[in-house]
């Protein structure tokens, strides 16, 4: 019987192709909107997570802020050394300073940022070298005029195809030798903004030649993943308060940022946004379902005579009900399937347009499809019931 009912439903839809299509349009748009929004939301979240993870995992960033005593007090190398020595679980720690400079080579100039770092910094922040090498310990501790240039700097001041390794470039009026080109990391790499437009030099050289003091603007800590971030942060706070002579109720005049927390916060924010947009899209899906009910009710009235014929030739009330219900469900499932196909195209196209990864989410696709089938049952039930309640004599007489 169910096969026959399905056949009747298909025939009915085929008899009213245009109307069936218009009816399902609401479902198509609703399903497509929900899936596209969730897929794009996932893509954006993944893209942000990717950028955050370029900060490095298990990394704390410590920087001075205004405390009770006015202006922020910078850190010194001694603070960094103390952290390295006294806090268990710290793997790498390195201070950093940065300053805006103009880089010159062969008559080309380029605005960039010079950043003084240690080799620990490169490890902690997962800065990788595309070609060339990192600083030697001797170069680092002596603060030699050596530099690692970001890919954007290379592009801006070197002729394409020529190797910058071993060349001398000038940063303002300081000459230094390029020993490496950095791997591309993408934008949004944290406080240094564009992590591809940077020239990295030994910290001591940057302090001596660019910032002119032994201050450290911030430092990064990479800790052993076996240690809890909160435990490390607690001992860090204790140590730094002691070193900065903060007693009693004095507020911390420094801030510790955990990249994992940033990651979580951003993930939660984009998740909430995705959920909100998906709910709005879900409402349009609901409206689409009500549209189906409306058309099915009209269809019952319009087909009263046909229902009468079916009843007269021996259809049972429940068979008529099943037929109308099946029609609604088939329409909704058809709408769901087309919506999924449309969402696939839309989300793929939009993902590449806004440059986020396209992540196919099978759960939301299956759920949307099941939801549209459920709407077929929900909104098809009442019209189907009405059809099955018709009196065959009245129905046959209906004009």
């Amino acid at each position: 019987m169910f096969g026959a009912t399905l056949l009747l439903a298909f025939r009915e839809i085929r008899r009213h192709l245009l109307r069936s299509f218009l009816t399902t349009l609401g479902i198509i748009i609703g399903v497509a909107a929900v899936i596209t929004m969730v897929t794009l939301g996932n893509g954006v979240t993944a893209s942000i997570k990717d950028q955050i993870s370029s900060l490095g995992s298990n990394v704390l960033i410590v920087f001075p802020v205004q405390g009770d005593r006015g202006r922020p007090r910078p850190f010194k190398q001694a603070d960094v050394d103390a952290v390295s020595r006294q806090i268990a679980g710290v793997v790498d720690v390195s201070g950093s300073v940065s300053s805006s400079v103009t880089a010159f080579h062969n008559g080309q100039s380029w605005r960039t940022t010079v950043q003084g770092v240690g080799n620990d910094f490169l490890r902690a922040r997962s800065v990788e070298v595309e070609s060339g090498r990192a600083f030697t310990n001797e170069e680092e501790s002596a603060g030699k005029n050596m530099c690692l240039i970001g890919p954007k700097v290379q592009k801006a001041i070197f002729v394409a195809g020529s190797s910058p390794l071993g060349e001398n470039i000038r940063l303002n009026n300081v000459s230094c030798t390029v020993i490496a080109v950095l791997k591309e990391r993408g934008e949004g790499g944290g406080p240094d903004q564009d992590s591809d437009n940077v020239v990295m030099v030994p910290l001591k050289m940057a302090q001596r030649r660019f910032t002119g003091s032994d201050d450290i603007q911030y430092f990064v800590i990479k800790y052993d993943s076996a240690y809890a971030s909160t435990a490390i942060q607690d001992s860090l706070v204790g140590l730094l308060r002691e070193r900065r002579l903060l007693q009693g109720a004095a507020t911390n005049d420094f801030n510790i940022v955990d990249t994992a927390q940033v990651n979580q916060a951003l993930g939660a924010a984009t998740g909430a946004l995705t959920a909100m947009v998906a709910v709005i899209a879900g409402i349009s899906l609901l409206v689409g379902g009500i549209g189906i009910m409306n058309i099915m009710l009209v269809s019952v009235t319009e087909r009263t005579r046909e229902i009468g014929i079916r009843l007269a030739i021996g259809a049972l009330a429940r068979e008529v009900q099943l037929q109308f219900l099946t029609e609604a469900v088939v329409l909704c499932c058809f709408g769901g399937a087309v919506g999924i196909a449309l969402a696939f195209i839309l989300s793929w196209g939009m993902a590449s347009a806004i440059d986020v990864p396209f992540i196919f989410n099978p759960v939301v696709n299956v759920m949307s499809f099941l939801f549209s089938a459920l709407m077929g049952i929900t909104f098809g039930y009442y019209p189907a019931r009405r059809a099955s309640k018709l009196d065959p004599i009245d129905a046959l007489r209906h004009e």
Binding site: R11, I313, A317, I393
Partner: protein, 240 residues
């Protein structure tokens, strides 16, 4: 098989009242009737005489307010809606004045429809529908939709749809009401031939010319059977 002593259809004191209280209207006031297997009955009478109400009851579409309606010895007035549906599906075929074919649906699919509700296999369904169309001489038109057929052809498709289940009784409500005389006579000749093949036919008509094809004429007046004329068939199927 029904034992021969039990008539196919028996009505005893059938009344039917529509509405309630002041607005109540008694359409049938105690109808008694017997129809034997293989008969060709024309039901006649002015409008409001109760002939349509009687046909609805005979077609198991409606139940009497009181009285007994036995079909093959089964008391139909005691059956529920679904049981009556099954009775129609198994034993009855309907032909309507307005043909009542499904629009935008081919002739063969229209004819197949009752078999769908019987749950028959696709191949059997199709073969039976084609046989029925062949019986009414429309096999070559199987794939045409009602809009592509003439009125006479549409009515023949409707007859094929009624025949496809091989019913005991064919109920025809003004089958020629929408057709011109020539097509009407063709339809009546078809019904006569089918009756000759053993199907009992009950037909409502108001045209004496069409009633002349019937073997028995039942005349209604004011909710009662006024007169039954038996064995008065005056017209026969003309040789093809």
């Amino acid at each position: 098989m029904t034992p021969p002593e039990i008539p196919l259809i028996e009505l005893e004191g059938i009344t039917k009242t529509f509405g309630r209280g002041e607005a109540a209207f008694q359409a049938l006031k105690g109808v008694d009737m017997r129809i034997e297997r293989g008969d060709f009955v024309a039901v006649m009478g002015p409008s409001g005489s109760g002939k349509s109400t009687t046909m609805n009851i005979l077609g198991c579409l409606d139940v009497p307010t009181s009285g007994i309606f036995r079909f093959r010895g089964v008391e139909v007035q005691a059956l529920d809606r679904d049981q009556r549906s099954l009775l129609r599906r198994r034993y009855l075929g309907f032909v309507f004045q307005g043909f009542n074919l499904l629009a935008r649906t081919s002739a063969v699919e229209n004819v197949e429809l009752p078999l769908l509700y019987r749950g028959e296999k696709k191949s059997e369904r199709h073969a039976a529908a084609m046989r029925a169309l062949d019986q009414v001489g429309l096999a070559p038109w199987a794939d045409h939709t009602p809009a592509e057929l003439s009125g006479g052809q549409q009515q023949r498709v409707a007859i094929a749809r009624a025949l496809v289940t091989q019913p005991d009784v064919l109920l025809a409500d003004e089958p020629t009401g929408n057709l011109d005389t020539e097509r009407s006579i063709e339809i009546m000749q078809l019904l006569t031939r089918l009756n000759g093949e053993g199907i009992t036919i009950l037909m409502v008509t108001h045209e004496e010319e069409m009633a002349a094809f019937a073997n028995t004429i039942v005349r209604f007046r004011d909710g009662l059977v006024e007169r039954v004329e038996r064995g008065r068939r005056t017209r026969r199927e003309e040789p093809a």
